[in-house]
């Protein structure tokens, strides 16, 4: 059905991003220079990583409000490990950050799965607990640039084939999760559990367990992002990335992820993130105040929701023979 492909959310969003870039370029041509676009992508990499995890969680009819707190807590944990053991190699730090983040995700997942507590309540609670834990660990103090080892700080900036590793990690995550979502049984289970939980149960899918895995993946990605964030900005503190969970949810919504579950793609989540990333990078350049920046992001979210609602609007059941598209 070529019509559907042309009208797909991803294509529409790519068009919107191109239009946005064209408008910015008309006032500030240097913005669309390849090196600048690469910078924008690199800046957006953390948002992309978190949005992939959030997309999977939202697919299963849940929401993860604890991602930014998870990022900050994991970031603080690896920062303190680095201060205590400067010799620990970066790959080990990365494994720790993914594992620790996943562990925090497991807490969310178990509460949703085993105790059947609504996800918004669970993650609102764990969000506060994670932030509080950072305070307990750090006594409210910052871990500053000079306290980190050089290798810890250098990793995300290390260039490979002209792009920083930070960007490559986001690209790798997009590719990996595109594969997971389209070609593994777990990926299919995410769509099924959110699309029709009742039917998923009949098909032998444990909906609660599927949601548990979604939270675990979201947590692991948040943990990894925690290390990348702390090392890139060379600082860790209690309010790190405060409120960033809302940007993550916004990126998903703009990227065509249905907040009621069952619909969404990794590519869409990435495009939604890039859309927000471009806005936040471009507006200061074209001298628009940060307050307008919030308003524009907010406007984009509402437009995206309206477009999605239009696309998903119930067109009625297909009963008349002439309405059926299959042959």
């Amino acid at each position: 059905m070529p019509k559907n492909i042309l009208m797909s959310r991803e294509v529409l969003l790519t068009g919107a991003i191109a239009l946005l870039l064209a408008i910015i370029a008309s006032r500030f041509p240097a913005f669309i220079a390849p090196t600048n676009l690469a910078n924008v992508f690199n800046d957006t990499a953390p948002l992309i990583l978190l949005a992939i995890g959030q997309m999977i969680v939202i697919l299963t009819r849940c929401i993860d409000l604890s991602v930014a707190a998870n990022l900050a807590l994991t970031g603080m944990v690896v920062a303190m490990i680095n201060v205590a053991m400067p010799g620990l190699p970066v790959p080990v730090i990365i494994v720790i950050s993914i594992g620790f983040g996943a562990l925090l995700g497991v807490i969310n997942g178990v509460l949703v799965w085993k105790l059947a507590i609504p996800p918004i309540v669970v993650t609102l609670g764990t969000m506060t607990i994670f932030r509080g834990t950072i305070f307990l660990l750090s006594d409210g103090k910052w871990v500053n640039s000079h306290e980190f080892s050089d290798s810890f700080k250098a990793f995300p900036r290390t260039e490979f084939l002209g792009l920083p590793l930070m960007s490559w990690i986001a690209i790798a995550a997009v590719l990996l999760f595109t594969l997971v979502m389209s070609r593994t049984t777990l990926g299919r289970a995410f769509y099924a559990a959110g699309g029709n939980p009742h039917a998923a149960t009949y098909a032998g899918i444990d909906v609660g367990k599927t949601q548990f895995w979604a939270f675990t993946i979201s947590g692991a990605l948040a943990g990894l992002t925690g290390y990348l964030w702390v090392s890139r900005f060379a600082v860790a503190f209690v309010d790190l990335a405060g409120g960033f969970e809302l940007n993550v949810v916004a990126a998903c919504v703009i990227g065509g992820v249905a907040i009621m579950g069952g619909i969404g793609t990794v590519f869409g989540a990435m495009l939604g993130s890039l859309f927000l990333g471009i806005i936040s990078n471009a507006l200061p350049v074209v001298n628009i105040s940060p307050f307008w920046q919030l308003a524009i992001s907010g406007g984009a979210i509402i437009i995206a929701v309206i477009l999605n609602a239009q696309a998903n609007r119930d067109k009625g059941r297909i009963i008349l023979k002439r309405a059926e598209q299959a042959t």
């Binding site: 029709n196 009949y202 032998g204 619909i263 297909i318 059926e324 598209q325």
Partner: protein
């Protein structure tokens, strides 16, 4: 007044060979209801066993127990004589039990092939799903059952009959020893049903045991080898289909003579009250027109998914028709919302009480007064005494039994919830009341009460539209019947020309 299971039937052993699957005195209770009480069921290799019973007899509970959705509270499941448990749907599948459920148990956003192979997709390298292989296999299965469906199509783009065929294909894609067919023909046309029969014969030849659930007797007598009858959650009879007549089966099912169920009522047909002309919707129905008189009960019969409920929702203003004229008392009205419909004297009691009917977290009186708040409030403030008075008037007319009008509707039985919903609409003093499957899923006692009440409403001059999929109900209650098929009117029959055969024939398009 539930009938006791008929104890005079002794249960003859049907087969000498051992069954593949057997239920042994299985009991299942829900809070306040015994859904199954010590029922037994045996399924033999290469045989079709028809499970027969009225709505609410416990058939779907058995299916859910056999597919691992419910756990029995007592008794056991045996496979090849060995007791076993199905704690999950997966476990039942692994034990070789597969079921063709109705189309609601599929995924609209996934493709046909993905729906068929969800949970057991063919794997390629690295354990990844082999999409090409999956599509090929799906196509082969679909061709095998004579379904012309492209496996890449999204399920939501299919009509209900094709969705049903996808459900059948899904069950066949699992290599199972026991196949449960839960009303597999409910939405199929005659040609598709014939193809399904061929398929059932093939499955029999392969030595699979088949449990066939159907309301259609012609079907049961054509393809079943054995029968088992449930009534009110208990086993009332089982045996070889060759040794039983249709009348005997009906008697076992209902436990009394069919003619006694329905009230005798006076037929005081009054003036024209509702005229519908040329109602159309882009995908759901086309060219619907009829007239309804005061005091008349007009039945709407059809297969599941024939577009009856969708049409009713458009009369009630939930959806908008693309064209069509509606006249009440000779005056043309434009109904844009349910509020318009209520203001013009049309009310709709939906089929799905849970989703569309009662607000279960609110008490009875608040449910009843919800559409009539204008009459029970002054200057925007609710008058509690008025609310209770209105609620009491109408629940008493319906003989609703509840401790108090403060009781939450969620705590009532299905039959009583239905009465609350009907009371709610009667309180608006309508001219036309639309009852969509008014007795679906409620016990026989409540059913009779609803039928009596419906007759009383008509006697008082209300015009009643009754959507029903139960032929006895349609035959017993309606003055006239409109049969719908695939979104169109297939026939309009008067009480003296309707027979079960003509109804089924028009509905299925034979």
């Amino acid at each position: 007044m539930l009938m006791q299971p008929d104890q005079t039937h002794d249960l003859p052993k049907v087969e000498t060979g051992p069954p593949i699957l057997a239920l042994n005195r299985v009991t299942k209770t829900f809070p306040g209801v015994t859904a199954l009480s010590e029922v037994s069921l045996e399924l033999f290799p290469g045989k079709v066993t028809a499970l027969v019973g009225e709505n609410g007899a416990g058939k779907s509970t058995v299916v859910k127990i056999l597919t691992g959705i419910y756990q029995p509270d007592g008794g056991e499941i045996e496979i090849d004589g060995t007791p076993c448990r199905f704690p999950t749907a997966q476990a039942a599948g692994d034990a070789g039990v597969t079921a063709i459920h109705q189309e609601t148990v599929l995924f609209d956003e996934l493709s046909v092939a993905e729906n068929i192979f969800l949970g057991h997709a063919p794997r390629g390298r690295f354990g990844l799903i082999d999409t090409a292989e999956m599509i090929e296999k799906a196509r082969a299965i679909l061709v095998g059952i004579g379904a012309q469906i492209e496996p890449r199509t999204k399920l939501k783009d299919l009509g209900i009959a094709n969705k049903h065929l996808v459900a059948i294909a899904r069950a066949l894609s699992i290599d199972a020893r026991v196949v449960i067919m839960d009303e597999p023909t409910a939405a199929l046309s005659q040609k598709e049903i014939e193809e399904l029969y061929v398929l059932v014969e093939e499955l029999k030849d392969q030595g699979k045991a088949i449990l066939f659930i159907s309301h259609k007797f012609d079907e049961i007598f054509r393809i079943a080898d054995n029968y088992t009858v449930f009534r009110d959650g208990a086993l009332v009879g089982t045996g070889s289909i060759a040794d039983v007549s249709e009348a005997e089966l009906v008697k076992m099912m209902v436990g009394r003579d069919v003619s006694q169920i329905f009230p005798n009522r006076a037929h005081n047909i009054g003036d024209e009250i509702l005229v519908v002309e040329g109602y159309e919707h882009p995908t759901e129905f086309a060219d619907i027109g009829f007239t309804l008189h005061r005091g008349q009960i007009l039945g709407f019969y059809g297969l599941v998914g024939a577009g009856r409920s969708e049409f009713m929702q458009s009369i009630f203003g939930i959806t908008r028709p693309s064209s069509g004229v509606l006249r009440i008392d000779g005056k043309q009205v434009d109904i844009r919302s349910p509020a318009d419909a209520v203001a013009n004297g049309i009310v709709y009691v939906p089929e799905d009480r849970g989703k569309q009917g009662a607000i279960t977290a609110l008490p009875i009186f608040q449910n009843v007064t919800l559409p009539s708040l204008g009459r029970t409030s002054r200057n925007g403030f609710l008058q509690l005494a008025e609310e209770f008075k209105l609620a009491r008037d109408f629940t008493e007319r319906l003989d609703l039994r509840a401790a108090s009008l403060d009781t939450d509707v969620g705590n009532l039985s299905g039959g009583n919830q239905q009465k609350v919903v009907i009371a709610k609409w009667l309180a608006t003093q309508p001219k036309v009341i639309i009852l969509d499957e008014p007795t679906k899923g409620i016990d026989i006692g409540s059913k009779a009460a609803v039928h009596e009440f419906m007759a009383e409403l008509a006697a008082q001059g209300l015009a009643v539209i009754m959507v029903s999929s139960e032929i006895p109900e349609i035959m017993g209650m309606s003055d006239r019947v409109i049969v719908m098929r695939e979104g169109r009117i297939a026939a309009e029959l008067s009480a003296d020309t309707m027979t079960p055969e003509t109804l089924v024939r028009h509905a299925a398009g034979i």
